[in-house]
Subunit: 139 residues, 2 copies
DNA sequence: CCGTATCCTCCTCGATACTG
DNA sequence: CAGTATCGAGGAGGATACGG
């Protein structure tokens, strides 16, 4: 039996792997942090609560959709808390939770590595691109 | 005078911000690490050099395209080195550079935070989703 | 064995318009 | 002020086929 082709078996393996991979804690964390707006929002909240409109102004170029979506995600994950003050007009404040705070050292660590090593990376990149250019493409 | 609309000014701001943001070292690092395959490749190389075909087997579900693309990127950034042995058939080995090695503690730190706090995140998530469900959507 | 080139499909994100 | 709803463009990534 096994009328499955190699392609089919591969496909199954991929799906099983995806399912497993989606559960991986480090992966979930990286997926969160890698989001373009997440670290910016977290950083904007570092010094205390901020209003929605405040965040929207401080974080240049963010659309309403992405800001809301990002905040919702962070709230859902318990990294940020949302406080609604029912007045007219309404007032909404966002703030880091203790869990969110505990993440900040990690952000700092990333920042630190990047600052210490970015020049090496840039240099490597130029070497690499330079080498490519040499090996003649010339059309 | 500025005949620019608010939308136009916003667009300019966004582009300027994008350009600035793209330069940010932490961002570049996060963008690299967040790539689905990067951490897997780095981890697969942790214990020494590996052949291309070896990596392709160890990393379930990766396509040739993505594996090559990932390795090229890492090589370009100086995190991984590529050694070609001209035989028939060819043999290619990949290995972490010292720069690449220096990144591993960071990966470990992420792994560690995730493992320590993932349950809090999951719990928060269930609370959040549960609360949503309560506030009656019932269409 | 180690790739590159092409096509094609999701899926994310921004723009826009509307609501409590 | 603080969102939600909808739509369309663009890019990332997989399948497939071919080259050194």
């Amino acid at each position: 039996m096994t009328t499955r082709t190699a392609a089919e078996r591969r496909e199954e393996a991929r799906q099983a792997f995806d399912a497993y991979f989606a559960q991986c804690p480090s992966r979930r964390l990286l997926d969160r942090l890698s989001d373009k707006w997440v670290t910016l929002v977290l950083t904007a909240l570092r010094d205390g609560p901020r209003r929605y409109s405040d965040l929207s102004r401080r974080i240049a170029g963010v659309s309403q959709k992405m800001l809301t979506q990002t905040l919702r995600g962070l709230e859902r994950d318990g990294l940020v808390s949302r406080t609604l003050t029912p007045a007219v007009p309404v007032r909404v404040d966002y703030e880091l939770t203790p869990l969110g705070e505990s993440l900040m050292p990690l952000v700092a660590a990333i920042k630190s590595w990047a600052e210490r090593h970015i020049e090496e990376v840039e240099a490597a990149r130029e070497r690499y691109d330079g080498a490519r250019a040499d090996e003649g493409f010339s059309d």
